[in-house]
Amino acid sequence: MQYDIKLNDEQYKIELLDLKNNKAKIALDDRIYEVDITEVENGVYSIILDNTSFNVELVETENKKYNVNTLYNSYDIEIIDAETRYANSRKKEDVDDASFISTPMPGKIVKILVKEGDVVKAGDTLIIVSAMKMESEYKVGSDKIVTKVLVSEGDAIDGHQKLILLEDIENN
């Protein structure tokens, strides 16, 4: 069975052609690899390809999405199977007309500068978040309306958590 696999911005076809014990034959587009692959620790793979020893460490960040590290490189990799393809096709339309503010890492809300209903201009700071003694201002990229503020000042937040929901002004 062939899958699509996305590595950063690149996309390939990937297929497991054969597997016996640790020895796998895999096609990536038209590149065929015969590897000796084993998960030595949880999330840590040892791969031997043509007698070269590779160490790969990965974390599943979301369902079917992985952050993968080789020696000094880091990749975001997603496996796109039938289920994902279906979900993607459904999501397509309603992605562009909603929007939100989130942070890439956990932190604490220092200040919220807007309230529901506010009209904000591109470049306006909506919220200030601190993490590890550093404060960061989160700005809006284009003119919007604040539809919902999901957090309060002082809240501890996770990375990628939605903090403020926005809508385009044209839609209101």
Partner: protein, 501 residues
């Protein structure tokens, strides 16, 4: 004799202090905030006291709570580590008042060295060279402009009460003077409640070189040579080494004497550091004194072969130093890399989170001072330092090779770290050659931040690992748990097995 030490700190430094205590047969007491219940220092200590909520100003910075824990645990002494209360004169005094030994200097030394202008004056008195500039705080804008004209451009304007780069301005051109002084003053006012500024000659291509000193309560004071700390990013040290690659024996001896004079000028007791700014011609000027243990103290420990924490404790025990200046020498070369939970590709944003996996570097010549472990979640409230990697070898060149070997083996999954960035620093020709100053990172930013382009093969290897991880998960969901690790798996209609994956 000290029998029990409370360590008023967390993270790697708390553990580092407790290790020396353990070797000396001294019990150690940890204090911890609510966010630090699972922190390694709590696990390592003999005793542990919770001192309040996560934010430092409700826990690690609250003198009353620390004192209370010290009393409850009957600790004889408090070690403040670095940061937090380590340079707080009030805390030093308070310990004294409560009859608890403070493992650090007197409040007099802390205060004198803590105020930049007082420190400058004291140093001038002790004939320690200082950067040409004013010795009085300047409150008046016109006066400031006059003084700058007298010293000559370029100059730095600094806040008297300052630190951490706040209120600092570089003025290179005549026409920028007014704006710079007034913005420096208003920033100083906002940050420290005091708009006094002072003015110093700006040193071109400066090196940051500091001297470790030790002083006992019997009038003995020695220096343990220099540390070169010019690899900095935004005034934060990133890599330190000793000996400094630009130092000569003559200048070292001279600077060492001045460092000792500086410490003596404030009747210093304990371990401290005299920081100098040094130009390319090895002209050097007193910059400030750190009246505590430094993050980078291990490179001195390795090269001078001294345990600085033990020395601190012995000094507080009123023992005379048994190290003599004439017996000390620098033995080989040591480099420290600071490993931070931060994302070099994303403007070094702190990156707290869960450590999903860690492999620590080991072997000949490698010291690793850390505190995180698999399953530990680095809290977002504190400094993102994960660990310090200290490497020694007989020569500087071999030390760099060994550091690269150690960085190669050091793996952390779950949070982004500065490891790849540090590894690239080791490859910069000017670093290899020892020709660098505090502009080093800025000057080499492009090289340092440019991730090596992976080959197609390497990307495919990464894809294969992710793909297997995915397949394994799928298999687990489709077949019941099997106990012996070997399962037959027929999703693809052919007989295939994912055993051992």
């Amino acid at each position: 004799m000290i029998k029990k030490v409370l360590v008023a700190n967390r993270g790697e430094i708390a553990i580092r202090v407790m290790r020396s205590c353990r070797e000396m047969g001294i019990q150690s007491v940890a204090v911890f905030s609510e966010a630090d219940r699972t922190s390694m220092h709590v696990r390592y200590a003999d005793e542990a006291y919770c001192i309040g909520p996560a934010p430092s100003n409700e826990s690690y910075l609250v003198i009353d709570k620390i004192i209370e824990a010290a009393k409850e645990s009957k600790a004889d002494a408090i070690h403040p580590g670095y940061g937090f209360l380590s340079e707080n004169a009030e805390f030093s005094d308070r310990c004294k008042k409560e009859g608890i030994l403070f493992i650090g200097p007197s409040s007099y030394a802390i205060k004198t060295m803590g105020d930049k202008i007082t420190a400058r004056k004291t140093m001038q008195h002790a004939n320690v060279p200082v950067v040409p500039g004013t010795t009085e705080p300047i409150k008046d804008l016109d006066k400031a402009v006059q003084v700058i004209r007298k010293i000559g451009l370029p100059v730095m304007i600094k806040a008297s009460a300052g630190g951490g780069g706040k209120g600092m301005r570089l003025v290179a051109k005549e026409e920028d003077i007014l704006a710079a002084v007034s913005s420096s003053k208003s920033e100083a006012k906002a940050a420290f409640g005091d708009d006094s500024v002072y003015i110093e000659k700006y040193i071109n291509s400066p090196h940051h070189i500091e001297f470790q000193i030790l002083a006992d309560n019997h009038g003995n004071c020695i220096h343990l040579f220099e540390r070169e700390c010019s690899v900095q990013r935004r005034h934060q040290k990133v890599i330190e080494e000793t000996p400094s690659p630009i130092m000569t024996p003559e200048v070292r001896e001279e600077m060492g004497k001045h460092a000792v004079a500086a410490a003596k000028a404030v009747n210093y007791s304990g371990a401290g550091t005299i920081e100098f700014i040094v130009d390319d011609n090895l002209n050097y000027y007193f910059l400030e004194m750190n009246t505590r243990l430094q993050v980078e103290h291990p490179i001195t420990e390795r090269v001078v072969q001294v345990d600085l924490v033990k020395e601190q404790i012995k000094i507080v025990n009123n023992e005379p130093l048994n190290l003599k200046q004439e017996d000390l020498s620098q033995n080989g070369h040591a480099i420290e890399c600071r490993i931070y939970a931060e994302d070099p590709e994303n403007n070094f944003m702190p990156n707290p989170g869960l450590i999903k996996h860690i492999t620590e570097p080991l072997g000949l010549g490698v010291r690793h001072d850390g505190y995180v472990y698999k399953g530990y979640e680095i809290p977002m409230y504190y400094d993102p330092l994960i660990s310090k990697l200290i490497v020694w070898a007989p020569t500087r060149e071999e030390t760099i090779d060994r550091m690269k070997r150690a960085l190669y083996a050091y793996k952390i999954i779950g949070v982004k770290t500065s490891i790849p960035f540090l590894n690239r620093i080791m490859d910069v020709p000017s670093f290899r050659q020892g020709r660098y100053n505090t502009h080093f990172i800025q000057d080499n930013e492009e090289f340092l931040l440019n991730e090596e382009k992976p080959s197609q093969k390497l990307k495919d290897i990464a894809s294969i690992a992710a793909f297997f991880s995915y397949l394994k998960k799928i298999e687990k969901h489709q077949s019941p748990v099997n106990l012996n690790g070997a399962s037959k798996w027929k999703v693809f209609g052919r007989k295939k097995s994912l055993e051992r994956l």
